[in-house]
């Protein structure tokens, strides 16, 4: 029972971690809580269903399931990343020098817009993700792990490792860290900060889309309002690990997933959605820099 809950928590947690990375990267660079990030995740879930449906109609799924899934993943990521890029360009870029709360309010507007955009075009009812992988799985220590759970955990792990290497090793990654440290200084040494910010949004949205696709496969159902609570939880995960801190977001996501699944198993499942909020409030009050974060000096 406990082990089963741990596996469920780990699955959920890796998804939260993927979404949290987008929050944390954007916050690190712009100090903006990208409220619309959860909606990109929701778009990813929908796009996955739509694109897979299209590929199935074209006969690709009957030909080879892995190929169809891989193509779905690729197209979903491309489309969602384009949405993230566009949102930044329209709703945040004109507000670069505005008072700090204007972009946050603008982000809330984007979030409302995207939710209703999907509701109008796709309908308000649940969408079903066709079950391709089924419930097959294996047992370890009398605990059942489905292949889907295992692949969610493994895929998230690989993506996070790749992202970590990207940020640490590549030129673009180095530029991202520089912009996060000091935007005007970075532009003085010849980094095009606007491009770097766009890249950050593209990567973050791509990760959220992967998360969305995997969740819609895992639960089999998506709705247009799933972005809101997933967004809040992922943000909580980012804060939990220390916002702006990439390993922190991964750690926070997994921790939150574990807390949630253990909490709903052993305390009460009715209040499942409250745990994240309580953790968010407590962490912000007690240790606002997060578990892994360093204390930030207040800029005057």
């Amino acid at each position: 029972m406990l082990l089963q809950q741990l596996i469920n928590g780990l699955t959920l947690g890796s998804v939260y971690a993927l979404i949290a990375l987008g929050y944390t990267m954007v916050y690190g660079i712009l100090e903006l809580i990208n409220f619309a990030h959860g909606e990109i995740y929701m778009l990813g879930a929908y796009l996955g269903i739509i694109i897979l449906g299209f590929l199935t109609a074209a006969g690709l799924t009957a030909y080879s399931v892995p190929l169809a899934l891989a193509l779905t993943l690729l197209l979903t990521v491309i489309f969602s990343a384009s949405y993230g890029f566009t949102v930044e360009k329209i709703a945040y870029r004109p507000l670069r020098s505005a008072p700090k709360l204007s972009p946050l309010i603008s982000a809330i507007g984007v979030s409302i817009f995207l939710q209703n955009y999907v509701m109008i075009t796709q309908g308000a009812t649940d969408k079903v993700f066709p079950s391709l992988v089924g419930n097959a799985g294996f047992s370890v220590l009398s605990t059942r792990i489905t292949f889907l759970q295992a692949s969610i955990i493994v895929v998230s792990g690989i993506i996070m490792a790749l992202l970590h290497a990207f940020i640490r090793k590549t030129r673009t990654g180095k530029a991202m860290r520089a912009v996060a440290q000091d935007r005007s200084m970075a532009s003085l040494v010849g980094i095009n900060t606007d491009t770097i910010i766009s890249v950050t949004f593209i990567i973050g949205s791509g990760l959220a889309a992967v998360a969305g696709l995997m969740v819609s496969m895992y639960y089999g159902l998506v709705n247009y309002f799933i972005g809101y609570s997933a967004g809040i939880k992922a943000f909580t995960a980012a804060v939990l690990g220390g916002i702006g801190n990439i390993p922190g977001a991964m750690f926070g996501g997994i921790l939150l997933g574990l807390i949630e699944s253990l909490g709903s198993a052993y305390i009460s499942s009715e209040y499942k959605d409250v745990y994240a909020f309580i953790i968010l409030i407590v962490i912000l009050l007690v240790r606002p820099s997060g578990l892994l974060g360093r204390d930030a000096e207040e800029k005057i």
Binding site: E31, I33, L95, P99, K100, S111, I112, N116, V118, L285
Partner: protein
């Protein structure tokens, strides 16, 4: 914001790129035909907007001098604003029940938005869960009324005190945070209150809500007709305008604005910042409590559904639309956002879509709101 086109061909290219990109993004959601339609529509409207935009902005620049003269010609003594009261008093005589109903709702929202304006507009503390206080006010009132069978006038003070206290108690820890972190914590508070109301079946009756709230009485008469209730709400609206306006001009109000503009400078001038922020949040919660009581007494039935995050956003929009920190602006913002959905009932589906896009556009083109002057500072 509006660029004057360098040449026609460049404008064509630009609108072509914008509409092609949007159509591509739209493609998976509604198919090829709808995307082609969107492409055409967007292409024409971007083209039109580019030309119309530069024309409109040049016209607006011409009217600037005229607007300034009109503003100067208004008398210094603002008592002429009382004239606005006449149509407000006349509403029940002229209109059908439906319109009075909308007016009552507008009145309740005005009080709520004025309360939020104290916190967000004057003190500069963004609150994304303001509806929690509204909910606490409404639920305390409903529970006092139905379980202890207290009347309107005896239940209301208790409910308002409970709400103010809730605002105070929550603010004590929360005010250690600043800016968007504070906003997130208030959002969390709002959600916790709603989920608790929804799940605490034995006390709040869960999602089924509380019904059977009695109508208020005045001097032994029950205020049951809609018109009578309208005047009751109007009375509270006037009280809130007068009281909030006077507090704003008092030393407390000036301290709030000083804190909003520059907290460090304000503290250096001897304003105890946390204490004054506590005043602000409690004062805001006080009005949310009154609005909650009025809402519960009008509806005779309340359920957690009325107190969602969207409601908080809506009230925030009222405050921002009219202009942060301006009482007149907030009233206009509240009235617009209550009436607009009623007018747009035909195209109900697109209402929220338009609200979302409207928020973004407002932030980009007019962050100070329709009537806000120089109230939003860069530090805020």
């Amino acid at each position: 914001m509006i660029t004057i086109p360098e040449s026609f061909s460049r404008t064509l290219l630009r609108s072509g790129i914008i509409s092609l990109w949007s159509a591509l993004l739209f493609l998976p959601f509604k198919g090829l035909r709808a995307s082609a339609l969107l492409f055409g529509l967007l292409f024409l409207s971007v083209l039109l907007l580019t030309f119309a935009g530069s024309w409109v902005s040049s016209q607006l620049a011409k009217t600037a001098a005229v607007r300034e003269r009109v503003r100067r010609s208004l008398p210094e003594d603002r008592r002429y604003l009382l004239l606005f009261l006449l149509p407000a008093l006349a509403i029940p005589f002229a209109a059908q029940n439906y319109l009075i109903d909308v007016a009552v709702l507008a009145g309740i929202y005005i009080i709520l938005a004025l309360g939020l304006n104290v916190v967000v507009g004057y003190t500069g503390l963004l609150n994304l869960g303001f509806v929690a206080y509204y909910a606490i006010g409404a639920y305390s009132f409903a529970l006092l009324n139905t379980k202890l069978s207290l009347g309107f006038w005896s239940a209301m003070p208790f409910a308002v005190i409970i709400t103010t206290l809730a605002g105070f108690l929550f603010a004590v820890p929360a005010l250690r945070l600043k800016g968007d972190y504070l906003a997130l914590v208030t959002l969390g508070f709002g959600e916790i209150v709603r989920i608790t109301l929804n799940n605490w079946d034995s006390f709040t009756n869960g999602p089924n809500g509380i019904g059977g709230i009695t109508a208020p009485t005045l001097a032994g008469m029950s205020i049951e007709t809609l018109s009578a209730y309208y005047y009751l709400v109007l009375f509270f609206v006037l009280v809130s305008i007068v009281v909030i306006g006077r507090v704003q001009r008092s030393s407390i109000g000036r301290a709030w604005i000083a804190l909003r503009e520059d907290e460090i400078a304000a503290s250096a001038m001897g304003i105890p910042s946390t204490l004054y922020k506590l005043y602000s949040v409690s004062f805001g919660a006080f009005w949310a409590g009154i609005a909650g009581c009025l809402f519960a007494a009008k509806m005779r039935f309340i359920s957690p559904e009325s107190f969602t995050f969207m409601e908080s956003v809506l009230v925030l929009c009222m405050v921002i639309l009219g202009g942060l920190g301006s009482i007149g602006g907030v009233i206009v913002g509240a009235v617009i956002l209550v009436i607009l959905p009623e007018i747009l009932r035909e195209v109900q589906m697109y209402r929220m879509l338009a609200l979302g896009a409207g928020i973004v556009l407002l932030m980009i083109f007019r962050p100070q709101g329709l009537f806000g002057g120089k109230v939003v500072s860069s530090r805020y």
